[in-house]
Amino acid sequence: MSAAAITAAVVTAAESSEEIKGIQLLLPEAYDIFWSAVVLLLIAIPFFKFALPALQKVLDERTAKIEGGLAKAEQAQAEAAAALDEYHQQLAEARAEAARIREDARAEGGQIVAELRTRAQDEAARIAETAQRQIEAERQQAAVQLRTDVGALATELASKIVGESLEDEVRRSRVVDRFLDELEATTATSGKGA
């Protein structure tokens, strides 16, 4: 086995195809053109008439669908955002309302307390005043009573002591008054002196 054998084989192969020249690769035979046209038409007609338009239609449809879907999603998002806004707003309103009610209640409570306090003070004052007045009346009554009793006692005592009946109304009254005046003057002096 040698290179010579290979060369011989190549030469044989070349000789067997001697009638075919290289230029024939570039010059088309009529049947070559005919069958090329047949296969090209075989491909071109189904592609142009059916396959490509059908596939393109589906692609366009899909694009439209995706765009529609995106628009819908956007709209849904906007709606959700609006709902959230509304919810926030309502929440804020509710909070404000609650705060207002609490404030009102506090103010009302304060007012009630103040009112009750005023009323209690008034009541206390009234009770104190009544008591004062009653005491004053009783004191006055006691003073009048005392004066009468002291007069009667003194008169009785004096008449017993001087042995003289002070039957006469005018005289008795004068004596008693003088006695009391003296007594008061003494009391005043002793009070001053004290």
């Binding site: 044989t12 070349a14 046209a37 059916f50 589906v58």
Partner: protein, 264 residues
């Protein structure tokens, strides 16, 4: 991996241009002459149409796994090629053409590594030539529609911003570029890549066959080496097949873009 073309017997089968002109199967000598490569093309066309028609028929708003893959491919052409080069507005009317071209070329290119087919449908010049002619008609008509016939010719042949005497040199070059070189390079680039890929694959696997079954002794180990090379070439061929489909539609989009823009 089956051989790209096996003759059965022993000896080294060298890849040759004859691979691209297999013996006719039907209607020999007429315009309808049918051979192995035409069959490969028919199978590839039916396969790619089946994939897209099934995907389109079962297209749902919520895509399944299969529909997802097809849509990913369509999105690749629409976003990475059409919209990137032509802009979103202009891309719309050309996306269908670019998508069809891309998947057709991809299908025809990938038959080069499908076991049993082992030949790119685009390795024979007829198909790349028709594809290039389609792109040619599209970018010329788009230019004329966008700028009118006069405007398109003026923008193409007399690029603005150049001193007038330069047109003596520039106009023939631009004419050649726009009307001949662009479609010719589109077709030849695609065909040449597929031819080269096929020759490389056949070379690797023919050599493997030869070393394993006809060689003796230490020479047999070379078979492992050539098989590894063939495996790598197969992966590379898939990459090239996808890359050439991508390049073809990118250039088509670029040519359309150059035609419809008033200044370039």
């Amino acid at each position: 991996m089956p051989l790209a073309s096996d003759e059965g017997g022993s000896g080294f089968h060298a890849p040759s241009i004859a691979d691209f002109f297999p013996p006719p199967v039907l209607w020999e000598g007429t315009i309808f002459e049918f051979n192995r490569i035409q069959l490969v093309r028919l199978i590839a066309a039916v396969a790619i149409v089946l994939v897209f028609v099934l995907a389109a028929r079962r297209a749902r708003l919520v895509p399944g796994r299969f529909q997802n893959v097809v849509e990913m491919g369509m999105d690749f052409v629409r976003v990475q090629v059409a919209e990137q080069i032509l802009g979103k507005e202009r891309a719309r009317e050309h996306t269908a053409l670019l998508t069809t071209m891309f998947f057709a070329i991809l299908a025809f290119n990938l038959t080069s590594v499908v076991p049993g087919l082992n030949m790119a449908g685009t390795a024979l010049i007829g198909l790349p030539l028709l594809l290039a002619a389609w792109a040619y008609v599209r970018y010329l008509s788009a230019g004329v529609r966008a700028q009118g016939l006069g405007g398109f010719l003026k923008a193409s042949l007399f690029p603005p911003g150049v001193p007038w005497f330069m047109y003596v040199l520039l106009t023939p070059i631009e004419f050649l570029t726009v009307f001949i070189l662009r479609p010719a390079t589109l077709a030849i680039r695609l065909m040449a890549n597929m031819v080269a890929g096929h020759l490389m694959l056949v070379l690797c696997f023919s050599a493997t066959q030869y070393f394993l079954f006809d060689a003796t002794g230490v020479m047999k180990t070379f078979g492992a080496l050539t098989f590894a090379a063939g495996f790598a070439m197969t992966l590379f061929e898939m990459f090239v097949g996808a890359l050439q489909a991508y390049i073809f539609v990118v250039l088509t989009a670029v040519y359309i873009s150059l035609s419809v823009e008033e200044e370039h």
